[in-house]
């Protein structure tokens, strides 16, 4: 039991990083970590001995975050970027991004639609395999790959700036 708790505490730096990718803000991220750890501690006895503590903990955080996002939507506090995206259209969004200063990776990830943000948090931020990310999210590996591909385009635009056209970039 105590070994499990130590394992749990050892996961906290990684969990904070993961939560930061989801929440976009350190204080919100730590609230999420706290809620996840509290829930995990309450259910520690239900944790399978042969299971992986990190996956279990990340999944708890993931579910709490998804629930929180749903609650936020219900309160109508902000428009999900997914919808904004649909409204503005690809060209408008691109133009807006080109105008914006090259954004910090964290801010750019925080603007991704939820489903993409989760994949990015697992794969690009925490460095998990596609298979582990897919298992945690309960989706096929192919879905992880396609979400990652979409997220990657958006993030590259936002963080690295517009890719030069073929001619300009080739000397």
């Amino acid at each position: 039991m105590d070994a499990q708790r130590k394992e749990l505490v050892d996961c906290i730096p990684r969990l904070r990083r993961f939560a930061l990718a989801l929440a976009g803000d350190q204080s919100d991220a730590d609230d999420l970590v706290q809620a996840a750890v509290e829930r995990a501690l309450r259910r520690l006895d239900g944790f399978r001995q042969d299971g992986r503590m990190d996956s279990w903990l990340f999944k708890i955080a993931q579910n709490l975050w998804i629930d929180g996002q749903r609650a936020r939507r219900r309160r109508g506090r902000h428009v999900e970027l997914e919808f904004a995206h649909d409204l503005v259209g690809e060209d408008g969004r691109r133009a807006a991004e080109q105008r914006a200063a090259v954004a910090d990776a964290r801010a750019a990830i925080a603007r991704l639609p939820e489903a993409q943000r989760l994949v990015v948090a697992y794969v690009l931020v925490d460095g998990q395999s596609y298979r582990d990310a897919a298992a945690n999210l309960g989706v096929p590996v192919g879905t992880v790959m396609s979400r990652l591909a979409r997220a990657r385009k958006t993030l590259e635009q936002a963080i690295l700036g517009e890719d030069g056209s073929d001619d300009q970039n080739q000397r």
Binding site: V37, E38, L41, L44, L124, E156, D166
Partner: protein, 231 residues
Amino acid sequence: MTKISDELLAAYADGEAGMADRAAVERALSQDARLRRDLERYRRLRQEIDRSFAPVLSAPTPTRLRKAIEAAAERAAAPAASLRRRLKRDCFIPAALAASFAAGLFLGVALMRAPGDDSRLLAASPALAAALDSLHDAEAIGAVRILASYRNSELRVCRRFSVSDGRLPVEGLACFAEDGAWRLAALEASAPADAYLPAGETGGLDRLTALMRPLPQDELEAFLAARRDRP
């Protein structure tokens, strides 16, 4: 030339592509400058993300979070919740508690009235407070026995006790708070044979005290002396 999808290129960069795909990507890369740039951009993106998130990984856990986690550990270890459920369900239990010692009823009532309230004061529970204030480990007054003493992460003295009248043995942990009163950190039925306790709600005290440092004998003596000599 095979068209390499964005998915496949990322999988290649992430070390997730199978052998055949890897060969196909490498063949395409050797011929396609655009694809090489895509790969380079993806690698730069990963570097940027690593760089952006690296500080939080090496940062110490903030005090606020650490404290909250410790508190959660204490709450998780406090099966007071399960006991409260039993108290609500089964009226005989508060009576049994009351019978066990004068303070028992007070304890039971306080728990029922303030579920989830962390400030469960024991000051009004004189029999238990007296035992916590004066007994050495393994000593008993009436139904109250002190089992062991600890120092928690906030360096407060905590004492594990049992209350037993042969009907509903209870064990608890009380910590001496800053305001000079004992607070109940955890309370659990000490697993009587007839008790139904949902799995996962026993043994919490063991988990809780395992996190604490046993109180050395001389520190216990000093603490008891201070309590004895208090104005």
